[in-house]
Symmetry: C2
Subunit: 108 residues, 2 copies
């Protein structure tokens, strides 16, 4: 799968941060986390699962463990297995973050 622009796949909800799949492999999953202004993905951790965030559009306040930074397109973060992490849209525009997880989440 080749994508000219991952952000074109974004979906938004006025209710809460919305997610959509980009790629689901056997060992790696990629999806978009899409935030209207003010929306957030509350702090959480995954046992046995690493996560990489890449900001595609907008301004994200990312926290990983005790570290917190405002990150724009081209930046991101790595949250190792078991480390608490969260993302909040601190900007006035929509925020789109590519989230890459390994191993892939189990479908519920």
């Amino acid at each position: 799968m080749i994508a000219k622009d991952f952000a074109e796949l974004a979906v938004f909800s006025s209710e809460k941060m919305a997610k959509t799949d980009v790629a689901h492999g056997e060992t790696l999953f990629a999806g978009l986390n899409c935030f209207e202004p003010g929306q957030q993905h509350a702090a959480h951790a995954h046992a046995g699962q690493d996560k990489l965030y890449v900001v595609l559009e907008g301004d994200a306040e990312i926290q990983v463990g005790d570290e917190k930074q405002l990150v724009s397109a081209g930046g991101g973060a790595f949250a190792p297995s078991g480390v608490m992490h969260s993302v909040r849209n601190r900007g006035e525009k929509r925020l789109i973050v590519l989230a890459v997880l390994a191993p892939p989440p189990t479908r519920s």
Copy 2:
């Protein structure tokens, strides 16, 4: 680890495409593939390892299986385990591609 700009970590070589690590977890690895104009990462495949490419700067000709496209910043590709893939810098500027692999490559 939080990075304001992944591309700041880039390293280049006049000899060939250069690589540098961004994050090495237990289940996920992220690194930069850095290409001077004309440089390429020849077609190859990984058994049991998925790869996601995200173009950060420059213009990449990416091939995955039979599909080939020119992709700029914000785009990328997913190469599932066992599928041939390659990247070539088709632009006149340097090319920086974030490569995310799961499981991580073994260090040699």
